[in-house]
Amino acid sequence: MTWLPIIIVMVVCIGIAMARVFIGPGAPTRLVAFDTINTLVVASLVILAMMFKQVIFVDVAIVYALLSFAMTLYVAKYIQGDKF
């Protein structure tokens, strides 16, 4: 299996979503685009683990998924206007 073209397509997807982070009107749209980037990065890390035959990338992917979930929840609470 060749995994390099898949990584290239995923990086193109991340670039398109990152353009929406910069030009998006308002904070909620930027948060949605950033969450999309997080999901794509998790999938890319799992593919990179298979490409380089290194298990440590999958561990990084699990921790990245959980920490980006915490980031999403805190930024959502900030947009909502709650006190911390």
Binding site: P28, A33, T36, M50, V58, I79
Partner: protein
């Protein structure tokens, strides 16, 4: 191993197609809620299929090399990453939509907002 490669390529094709559709929908749709609809659901579905392709490859190598293969760790941890992705994406999308509605973000061309009358907290 040849059949496993074909299965993995089919899964990768589905996954990349849905990721591209989700990211294009992030640019084409008018307001935040439809962008959330396109991006979160399509990207989660595509990423699930990409990780399943990796799981199929790792499980095939594990079955081929025996019980103490180095691919066994890869297979089990990829399943854990898949579970973490599925749980966190759905919950995060719900939290984002709720926060956007409470912050006063309106959908495009909206006339009636029924949810606003129900929230009395």
């Amino acid at each position: 191993m040849d059949t496993l490669n074909i299965v993995s390529y089919v899964f990768i094709g589905i996954g990349l197609f849905f990721n591209l559709v989700g990211v294009i929908g992030l640019h084409r749709l008018p307001d935040m809620y439809t962008k959330l609809h396109a991006a979160t659901k399509c990207t989660t579905f595509g990423s699930i299929f990409l990780i399943i392709a990796v799981i199929v490859q790792a499980a095939g190598a594990w079955a081929l090399e025996g019980a103490y293969s180095s691919q066994s760790v890869m297979c089990i941890r990829a399943v854990l990453a898949l579970v973490a992705l599925m749980v966190t994406n759905a919950t995060g999308a719900h939290a984002m939509a709720r926060a956007a509605h409470r912050s006063g973000e309106k959908p495009a061309r909206v006339v009636v907002d029924d949810l606003k009358e129900k929230e009395n907290d």
